[in-house]
Amino acid sequence: MPRLPRAARSAGFRFALLHTLVFVALVAVIGLTAEALVTHALKRQARARIESEAAELFTQYRERGPEHLRKLVSARFAMRENRLHYAILGRDGQVATGDPVLAQASRDEAGPGGSVVHEIGRKPYDTMLAAVRPLSDGSLLVAAIDLDSVEDVEDVVSGAFYVVLAMSLALGLGTGLLLSRTLLNRLDAVTRTAEAINAGDLSRRIARTGSGDDFDRLSATLNLMLDRICALMESVRQVSNDVAHDLRTPLARLRQTLEDARRHSGTMADYDAAVAKAMVEADGLLATFSALLRIAQIEAGARRSAFQAVDLTDTIQTVCEAYAPTIEDGGRPFAVALAPGITVEGDRELLTQLFANLLENAIGHTPAGTGIRVELERSDDGRFGHASVSDAGPGIPTPEREKVFRRFYRLEQSRTTPGNGLGLSMAAAIADLHQTRMSLSDNRPGLRVGLDFRLGG
C-alpha cells in the first residue's frame, strides 16, 4: 500500500474527509431533489398550456367545422410561434395539415373517443409534449409544445450541482488538510518533548501557546505530571544518597570497634566491652533502618484504609503524660492546654508517634530549663483542630525550615545531639498521611510546629 503523506494519514484529516463526504452526499441529495421538483413543475405547466390549446382548437372545430379547423391549424403552423406545433393527421396517420414533425403523435395510447397527452420526439432533446384529440371523421388533432426549456432548466440545475459538488469536495479536503496540519503541529510539540524525555532530558517541557484551548490545557496537565514525576525521582535519588551516606558512618564505626577489639583486647573484659559497644552501634543502625522502613510504609499510604475515629485530645494527653516526668525533671516548664473531645479520622498509633516525635524533638534540641508548650484548639468555624508543639529554644532559621523534613537532615548546631535525623521526617510523613500539613514557624523565641487537622463533617 503506498504511503500517504503524513497529513493525509492523520486523525484530523480523516475526520475532515468523513465530514466532506457527508457534506457532498447532502449536496447531491439536495441537487437531485431540486432538479426533480423543478422539472415536474415545468412539465405540469407545459401540459396545462398544451391541453388548453388543444381544447380551444377542438371547440373551434365543433362550432365551426373541419374546414375552419384546417385553416386555423395551417395558419398557426405558418406562424411557428411560441414553441407550439399544430397538425391534423389523417386516418392513415400521415400529416394532412400542419407541422410534419407531429407525424410521430398517435392515438394508440388514447382510448376510443378519448384524448391523450404524451411525449414524442428524440430523447433527451427535441422532445415535445403532444395533446392528441380524435375528430369525428377519424382524423386526429395534435397540438404540441417543445420541452426545450424544461431541458434547459435541467441542464442549468445539474450544472450548478456539479460545480457545488466539486467546490465542496475541494473545500472539505483543503480544510481537512489545513486542520490536520495544525493539529499535527500541536501534537508534534508533545511528541518531541516526550522523545526528548525518553532520550534522557528530563527538564524538557511542552511549549504552550497561552491560548488556553484544549491542547494548551492538556500540555499544562502533562507538564504538571512531569514536574511531579521529576520531584519524586529527585526525592528517591536524594533518599538513596542520604541512606548510603548516613549509614556509612555508623557502619565504619562498628567495623573499627570490631577491628580494634581483635587487635588490642587482651582480656575477656576487653572483649566484652567491645562486643557491648558493637551491639550499641548495630542497634542504632537497625533503629535507623526500621525508621526508614516505617517512613516508606507511611508514605506509601496503605495505612489510610485502616483509619478510624481517633480521640485526638486523649491521644495527645497520653503522650504528654508519658513525657511529663522527663520534661519536668529537665527543669522545663511544661504547659499543656487541650480542648476536650476533638476527634479526627486517623491512626492512633501513628498519631501517638507523631506527637512523641515532636516532643522528643523539642526535648532534644533545646537546652535544659527551656519551656515546652502543647496546645490543641478548635478553629472558630469548627472545621479544623489546630495542634501545636512549641518551645522557647534556639529555633530553626527560616531557610532551613523546609529542609528539616528531609530524611537525615540535621542542623549544623544539632550535629552533636543524639538522634538519627529522621524524627521530623517521620512526623511530616504521618501528618501527610492524615492530609494535614505540618508548618514550622518562629515562636519568638523558639520553634513552633503547627498541625491543622481537618475535623469530621
Binding site: 495505612r303 522527663t326 512523641a356
Partner: protein
Amino acid sequence: MKVLVIEDDGEMARFISRGLREQGHVVDQANSGRDGLFHAAGGTYDVLIVDRMLPGLDGLGLVKTLRAAEVQTPVLFLTTMAGIGDRVAGLEAGGDDYLVKPFAFVELLARVHALGRRRPVVQADTVLRAANLEMDLISRKVRRGGREIDLQPREFRLLEYLLRNAGRVVTRTMLLEQVWEFHFDPRTNIVETHISRLRSKVDKGFEPELIETVRGTGYLLRATFA
C-alpha cells in the same frame, strides 16, 4: 515450661532454643508451618514462638488454623517486618504478643514468661497484693502498710501491670506497649522517669523495696520475700 519454636531460619531457631534451654525450659523446634502445626495441634506446649514468614503454611495461617481447632496455647509472633499493620494482623489472627526481629534475648525471654503465666490468670481478683502493698481494682485505691498512696491514672496502670506480672521481669518495651500503647522506641528515657516517680510514692519510706531494676532488661516487682 515447654516451648515450641516454629522458625525456618536455622540460626535464629538455634539462638532462641539455646537461650531458652539455658533458662531451664524444654524446647522443641519445627522448621516449617506444616510441621509446626502438626506438633502444636496436640496442645501440649505452654508457649508457641511462631515466625510470621514460614515456608508452606505461613505463621498467620498456622495460628488461625490452631485457634479454629480450639488450641488456645499462647502464641508469640516473630517478624522481620517492621510493618505498622502487621502487629494488628498478628493479634487478630489469634496471636498473643508480637516481637520484631532483631530483638534482645532478654526481651524474648520476658515475653515468653509473661505468656506462659497467662493461662491461670483467669483469677477474678479484685485486689492485687505484694508484701504489704494492696491495690483495689474496684475502688482504684492503693494502700501500703495501711497508708493510702495517691497515684495518677497512668501510675496506677503501671503499678497494676507490675503487680499482675509480679515475680517476672518486664522489659521497657513491654511497659511502653502495655501502659502507654507506644509501639515504637522513644529515644527519651520516659519509662525510667515514670518508674522513679512511682518508686518515690510506693517504695520511699517503706520496707521492703518492691520495684527492682534488672540491669539491661527492665524491672521486677518482687512477689515473695524471704
